[in-house]
């Protein structure tokens, strides 16, 4: 029964109800921290409300939005060319770059920003290198907005890179080729055909970048740019839970603003009808080949090679001065276990939400899908304390168990899985399912045999993203992990917070290594 309408009654009622129920459950779980914030904020005394309206607070709100917008724009500016170069052109070492370019995502921001400052700070390594031959005694300031934008862009552009790359790979080359055959040049084809088709991918990736920026604490504090999250931390550190909750609710509102903005940008995006049936033609870059290569190398150098190299340098310097390596087997296993379970849970939770929002588009399903982002801009400490509140009081049997930690990871990082699944699902025409059903398959069977295999890149991408962000997670792990459950991230934190750099280097390198594995796996399959 092929329906022409956008909302075909394609699945049986029980299946559809189950889909709704599951999605509602997921949304409720993600909203748990927000509920806690309301409970706490209700107890805030009027003085706190007055404090919220300080001009300084409003000014910081403005600064925060400015940072989020700048980082998102810069990430798109860096990531789209890179995605295009690695999928559509004869860029040298194209496949290797596809594996390398997403990796900066795995470097924790507190580590990356620290390394960035020690390399490019006014009296950092670079200055040291330049002093002897050139007599440079001071480099320009890196602190403040420019430094924060640069660092956060280098850390988060992979969100846009991955979503754009996936979209480019699945986009039917016929559209671009028709444009070319009608006489459009390469540039104008890109601007007028490719870029508009990339809008959902840019939206999904950009959204994650913007929310990541709102939530980040490590980079902005090391680069001395006051954002709302810093205000929130200052408040938490003075043990003012009510005031902190109120501030966190402001972050929830900011998230809604960002989500609304994204929805507004994508208000007239149409679902592409055809998906890639064959690989696109490779565009020869000609004389642009080496400049493009240098650009790619530059991004990879700043975002990955430099931090990894500095970590190695710390490690070697430490080993030379007699530092012994800690045994990291336990922490590595814990990291793999926690992040792996989190990836599985997040993808399982994201699946019904993504299906519902793509196959049954409507206000309510869109709302449910958007709600899964509610916790993503909240700093980990907010989520963690909310779960301490519910866990210790309502579910003591779950408190300080691996189950609760994995649940926290899933709540925190769910949007990454939802985003990856949604963008993939959008490119799988429902007509394929319907064709299978017209050949006698039952609805779920058709979905399982036709859509799920096509969905696999999205499943892998979502799982990998959750895996690696959970692996570098610090605040939730410190507060919610079972007793004695050390992870690589907590080992790094423990060493760095006490200035034992050599000890921090080994676990930090292991985080990068461990999280590159799934990334290499799913990028390598494309």
């Amino acid at each position: 029964m092929p329906h022409a309408s956008r909302q075909p009654a394609r699945w049986t009622t029980p299946t559809r109800l189950a889909l709704w129920a599951l999605s509602a459950l997921v949304a409720a779980a993600v909203l748990l921290p927000t509920v806690y914030l309301f409970v706490r904020a209700a107890g805030a005394d009027p003085q706190v409300w007055a404090g919220l309206l300080r001009t300084r607070t409003l000014e910081i709100l403005g600064r925060t939005l400015l940072l989020a917008a700048s980082v998102t724009a810069a990430s798109i500016g860096v990531a789209v060319p890179l995605a295009w170069l690695t999928t559509r052109t004869d860029l040298p070492l194209r496949r290797a770059w596809s594996l390398i370019l997403p990796l900066p995502l795995v470097v924790p921001s507190y580590v990356s920003a620290y390394l960035f400052v020690s390399a490019f700070g006014p009296r950092g390594l670079l200055q040291g290198l330049l002093e002897a031959p050139l007599g440079v005694t001071r480099l320009p300031e890196i602190y403040g907005l420019p430094g924060a934008v640069v660092i956060l862009t280098l850390l988060s552009y992979p969100y846009v890179f991955l979503s754009t790359r996936a979209a480019l790979l699945r986009m039917s080359p016929t559209l671009e080729e028709s444009a070319r055959s009608l006489g459009e040049g390469a540039w104008s084809t890109f601007w007028r055909v490719t870029l508009p088709l990339l809008r959902p991918a840019l939206g999904a990736g950009g959204l994650l970048v913007a929310l990541y920026t709102l939530r980040d604490f490590g980079a902005v504090s090391l680069l001395r740019y006051d954002t709302f999250t810093r205000v929130l931390y200052v408040s938490y550190r003075s043990f003012d839970r009510e005031g902190s909750a109120l501030l966190a609710l402001v972050l929830v509102v900011l998230t809604l603003v960002v989500l609304g903005f994204e929805a507004w940008l994508l208000r007239r995006v149409t679902q592409p009808t055809a998906s890639a049936t064959r690989p696109p033609r490779i565009l020869p870059l000609g004389s642009w080949r080496w400049p493009a290569f240098l650009f790619t190398l530059g991004v990879a150098f700043l975002s990955l090679f430099l931090p990894a190299g500095l970590l190695l340098y710390w490690l070697i310097r430490g080993l030379n001065s007699g530092e012994t390596l800690m045994a990291l087997g336990g922490a590595t296993w814990n990291s793999l276990l926690g992040s792996g379970l989190a990836a599985a849970l997040a993808v399982a939770a994201a699946l019904p939400v993504a299906i519902l929002s793509v196959r049954y588009p409507g206000r309510l399903t869109r709302l449910i899908e958007r709600l899964t982002y509610a916790s993503f801009a909240l700093p980990g400490i907010v989520i963690a304390l909310a779960l301490v509140f519910f866990g210790a009081r309502q579910a003591p049997f779950l408190y300080q168990t691996l189950a609760l930690l994995v649940f926290a990871y899933a709540v925190l990082y769910l949007p990454q899985a939802v985003g990856a699944l949604r963008t993939t699902l959008l490119q799988i025409p429902p007509s394929l399912d319907e064709a299978a059903r017209s050949l006698g398959r039952r609805p779920l069977q058709a979905f399982w045999e036709v859509t799920v295999p096509l969905l696999r890149p999205g499943l892998l991408a979502g799982a990998s993203l959750v895996f690696l962000t959970a692996m570098k997670d610090l605040p939730a792990t410190l507060i919610l992990a079972p007793l004695g459950f050390d992870t690589l991230a907590t080992e790094v934190w423990s060493a760095v917070s006490e200035a034992f750099f050599a000890r921090a280097a080994a676990p930090a390198l292991l985080i990068v290594l461990m999280s590159s594995l799934p990334l290499a796996f799913f990028v390598g399959r494309d």
């Binding site: 300084r56 200052v234 408040s235 003075s238 304390l385 210790a392 003591p396």
Partner: protein, 370 residues
Amino acid sequence: MKKNHAALATTTLAALALVSACGPAAAPTAQVIRETVEVPVEVTAPPIVITAPPEQVAAEPGRLVVYSGRSESLVGPIIAQFAAATGVQVDVKYGSTAEIAATLLEEGANSPADVFFAQDPGGLGAVANAGLFAPLPEETLSLVPAGYRSPAGLWVGVSGRARVVVYNTEALAPEDLPADIWDFTDPVWAGRFGWAPTNGSFQAMVTAMRVAWGEEKTREWLTAMQANAPKVFEGNTNIVEAVGAGEVEIGFVNHYYLYRFLKEQGDGFAARNYFLPGGGPGSLVMAAGAGQLETSANPANAQRFIAFLLSTVAQQYFASQTYEYPLVEGVAVERGLPALAELNRLDVDMAALDDLAGTTRLLQETGVLP
């Protein structure tokens, strides 16, 4: 099995006593201390007495849950010593003091924790003020000087952390530095110093200023310092690194960070500590400390652990491994550090430093904090 434990404990402690008896010249590392567990029995130094009565050692040693606001690299080895010496199964949650305290406040009566081991008086105060601590026995409390324990007996100081000025040795000599922290308000210091206003120890110092100087003078100091354009750092570590690199000439930090840099990078590291001789809030010596949770399921072990932290072994550990000040009398400080008694310390009760909310408000009003 039990006997083995006791024998091992004695051996460990004896070996430890030997190691520490060798003094700073032996420069034991954390690794060395861990290895001493393997030392054979012929070592015959007098064992260090833990305040637990013997029948308790013989009984089932049980469990202990410690929430530590001090990081594993600092206190992990000494907690392991306690576990090895007593046979108690110790589980530790590590985090920053503020976040652990927030967790304890959120857990309330359902907390699984037995002991909270905090880095600064602010965290201890927050938990004590929420009524979550049980009073400690008098014999434990009386081991440390009066200013370094809660007057209500709710927590006890374990080690001392002095506020110092760290200066770049290429830019400055000790003679160039003033006696009192107030004097850095002089415009000659403009643009030359770094501080970390989000740091708990810095905030404790500002709280001490409010106690010693009063609200108005502290506000004046903060405003004048702000006018001197301080470089804002995230923590003490970053400041010491920046001072060593010459990015700023001086920084306001705790004393022990420097020694870790000296250990990793050698004596060429271009920064040294200056203990302000003025006796004002800049000469504050704070305490890291511990308290027992009222809801503790293992109160006997909790008290034993806190008493152990004040034993000679543990106090020597803090002196030689974390370069802090032992608070129990008769334990020597690490070489190169002035003795606690030689410092012209600010005379202030640690328990008076618990109004972190007021300090945060003042820091925000003066624009020091966002």
